[in-house]
Subunit: 349 residues, 4 copies
């Protein structure tokens, strides 16, 4: 069975396991106050070209989104997201559990536009009853989005401008950031993201680590007492060095970019094959999540050899599905899928 | 100046003030444990033909919605509403502040359909990742809605069936309930509402009282420890008898229905005049809120003599506005508006 | 039956009812944005000699405490109180429901000392694990306290200094403020309180109003967006003028001070009688709540004619009880109690 | 430098690292729905002799306490703890952030008594104003406590009886459970704990794992929808198998008990040495945390070679400190400490 259903089915890149093993019996202070976290934070500041940023390490995405958002908002403030955003759909109400409204705007392929954001903020601010309406104080983007799409440099720059003109924080969820930065259509990089956003995170869980997300805070006002928030939300790992060590392994020799590029190339290979085979892409994603529409009969056959994710029904006889590549995907696995698709779609034809 | 902008611009019906004055120097226990609250609750049980219901009195609508919803849900559960619902738009995130997601579905004229509700609940329940998605456990309707529209008996019956088949609570916000029950198109009554809903409230603030909402809980599971929730949400009034006395005045001789009918008739008079004058109604509301589209030039003139609520821009030269009648509106005020509209729209033509 | 059990058993001072009646059919904007609220706020700023203060009106004490505290704290911050404080004991967890720890320190007769407060703040700030400990960011005092006791000017000045040196807000709950200011042992006044505290409230519910508390915010940082907080906590009354009107009645001709003095004098008369009769005071309260220890046999007799509050058992044959005077207590009611006590204690003796 | 300051300074027992390495490139479903979590849960049910228990894996202690408590309580309910309890002192208000009061009772050496618990519950239930007081609905114990002390079988049985007679949940925090069960004074075992408690957890983070706590839920009512709560509190690890694998390693061949015994024996060796040297124990702890009073001059010397935790000042010239043993402590490290203490205390004498 070949697993292409998600990007977190395996453990960690061997370099990470090795680092954990090498340092296993060392003794260090807890809660992220060790030398490895310090080194990893410094490395991340460097790759982000942002010397003044605060860097903190958390275990997973929902925890990170919750901690960042809850730390930035006052009780009557909410966070704007595309309705497909992870915080709106797949965190079991974690943001609301901290007391904040998730203000969901209809996205296009998972993305918001600067105009949409500006219009909403201006509408609330201008309303006579504004004190009865949740005040939007943060914009949450994911990059890549839940649908694998990307913001261009221009798009992100415009959203950033809209936010900052209005005193609204910009937060970028980078759970799959590596896979976005490494794909051929991308025109953003970490320094640009650090410059445009007030806070963002570099995802480890889906990009080679056992677990871990590195939060980068560039806005001074959001830095204060962040560790209190982390503790309160259950996000200060006792053996915090496990996080520092993993990000050290990912960033000390560029491993993060290398394995991201690996996954991106395999996704591009797959995408090119879809085009070649004349398959309908459900969403035109440039990143490691590829969405394609296939006849149900083909899917049934595919399921014998492949794990993939059913997305949604398209019409009576066909459905959209998602294939993911990751740091751990082997080229031959992607080739096997392409071969099978060739065979199956030929039969269909 | 004639005020038709909302239904809470005045004090209370004189009968209510009189009752407060008569009992003013009596001494009673606090927090709603007095004989007047008891009598008012009993009266309400009678008019609802629901002997087993629990009846509690709260001060205002947001407080009532918050207390009811927070008392009914577990942390990972949310409440479904039309996106125009008061809890979604105009409570400054009060529900989210209690930790719960407001699940906003696109309404039609402020209303949800049974199918819409069923589809949403079934989708969440059927999703593989359902434990990552907020569980819908309550449906919130307002009747009349924010847009003045009403559920028919059949519509409410169907929504009730959908909810109860799926173990989901049905909560009806009756901030303007009197005005709905009293209008000519209505085919619901209090006993029917009590039978179909698990919890609802009879609004006093907008229907003759100084303030006050009477919560009627028919579902046994929702009755437990409700007073604890009231206290925690700041909703147990020290001199609770003020609430009991007001509802006593409203219900002991049918005053609630009488003054509601008064407002409904004036609204119907206004609506008929709109039709007669060939004005475009923005929403076809059968209740005390009337929405009409008028040229901006006319609105400018009207504003010299009338208070009304600007709703939204319709096109470059005209806008939708809202006129409200209430228990305190005088027939001559409505006639004055009609006369003015006649004059203005003639000028326009 | 003579009721001396609490200070909220009756309606309102007649001047208040009259004002409500006189203005009843006037039409005003809602939510506290009317001219009466404006006038009342201005009057309060004057009596507090604090032109720059923001004044807001809320309905009851728990709502007020919740809104003020939730508006001032970040999620990881807590509020220090004497363990007998209302927010710790009698608000059903309203503060915690907003996410904040109530940090209860052992009080002495319901009071905290400046040293106690300083020591706690310094301990947390100095602890190596301080990021794991709730950060104290507000001190909550009630004046008079739950036990009727008062802070002297010197005590309040010292607590204020301790707070402000450490960047901690000082909040004074004045649910019974009038009764404190009016008693013979008091050396504080409203301007002094406004100068020493960052936020406090002047209680109406227990001092002549039907309901209502006037929040006075002197610290600029706490003023921002307070109305959003009020709305979110269910505390913006639709017919907000009812609050403005009541405080107008209380403050336009000094009624608040006059009726407070009335209650204070009756309490002092009662206290002097306790001393004269040789009764043991349970707490030496200078204000309208008088706590005395009586033999259970005497209490049984008293109960036939008087309502009072059982406080706690003192020993096998005697208990502490509370008598309250209020704006509505008649001198003859207090005399009747004193007569009865004389009779009963003579019998006992 | 020899580190005896805490029990989470090192990585994991080598058997755990090995298991992670062996399975690293396997592909499994996420979020704890893999075969390793299933096997580990089954093993834990076996060692607890509790076939019907639900077992879930979380990452850390604060997260576990928060998720368990928030899942069990309604908004107006609170959890009783000794005031030294972790949830009261060292979780930055995580429980309050979920809306619940932590009801702190004065403990004795970190422990509560059955009488104390019963008295508190009965007082609240019996109070006339009970609806204004947070309802105690759960008792939280840690075993061992924060001070290293243990409940005896009889004590735990009595507390369990008190809770269950009153419909109150009993929750046992077992962050250091292994070290408690393995010490010579202990008379409890896992089946007994599972029988007496409604929910408890077996700590991995401090007992040989990289991280991880295994929650065992025996009360049916607490089982429902627990995974939703986990997700909402950020506690469903994407690569959940990492938790399953670690508990598998700990329980498949009794490693958990073996390494706990190792730490317990070293602690006992240390404790015996304290007695022999005539040192004053600050608390008489039977487990892996040993508290002793030493002259400040001795501490200064010790600090050159040893890491330990400063606890509190005892008098002008001496202080209490904590030494911890763990699964990773070497016997020679403890011997070195004993030697040094001998040397230092002789000098002193």
């Amino acid at each position: 069975m070949i697993w292409l259903n998600s990007d977190y089915t395996q453990g960690a890149h061997p370099a990470i396991l090795q680092k954990l093993a090498e340092t296993n019996m060392e003794q260090t202070p807890g809660y992220g106050e060790d030398v490895y976290c310090e080194q990893a934070a410094e490395l991340i500041r460097e790759v982000c070209a942002c010397k003044e940023a605060d860097v903190h390490f958390l275990v997973g995405g929902t925890q990170t989104n919750t901690t960042v958002i809850a730390s930035a908002l006052r009780p009557y403030q909410g966070v704007i997201t595309a309705s497909s955003g992870h915080i709106n759909m797949h965190e079991a109400g974690a943001i609301e559990a901290c007391g904040h409204k998730v203000i969901a705007l209809a996205g296009t392929n998972g993305k918001l536009t600067a105009k949409q954001v500006a219009d909403y903020i201006d509408w609330q601010e201008g309303d006579e009853s504004r004190e009865h309406i949740v005040q939007p104080k943060m914009v949450y983007l994911s990059h890549p989005t839940e649908l694998g799409t990307l913001y261009s440099k221009q798009e992100l720059t415009e959203i950033s401008r809209v936010c900052h003109q209005r005193g609204v924080w910009l937060f970028l969820d980078g759970a799959r950031l590596g896979y976005g930065l490494a794909c051929r259509e991308n025109d953003l990089d970490l320094p640009e993201i650090a410059r445009l956003c007030d806070v963002f995170y570099i995802g480890g869980t889906k990009v080679g680590a056992l677990f871990g997300e590195a939060v980068v805070i560039t806005a001074d006002e959001l830095k204060q007492d962040f560790r209190y928030h982390m503790k309160q939300r259950g996000g200060r790992m006792a053996k915090g060095r496990l996080l520092g060590l993993q990000f050290l392994a990912l960033f000390e020799h560029g491993l993060y970019f290398e394995i991201s590029r690996h996954a991106a190339q395999l996704a591009e290979r797959l995408k090119d094959a879809f085009v070649e085979l004349g398959l309908t892409r459900f969403i035109d994603s440039p990143t490691n999540q590829q969405f394609v529409v296939l006849p149900d009969a083909v899917l049934k056959k595919l399921r014998e050899k492949f794990e993939f994710e059913y997305w949604e029904r398209v019409d009576e006889t066909s459905s959209a599905v998602r294939f993911c590549t990751s740091w751990g995907t082997k080229p031959e696995e992607v080739e096997a899928l392409i071969e099978e698709l060739k065979r199956q779609t030929k039969c269909e034809g």
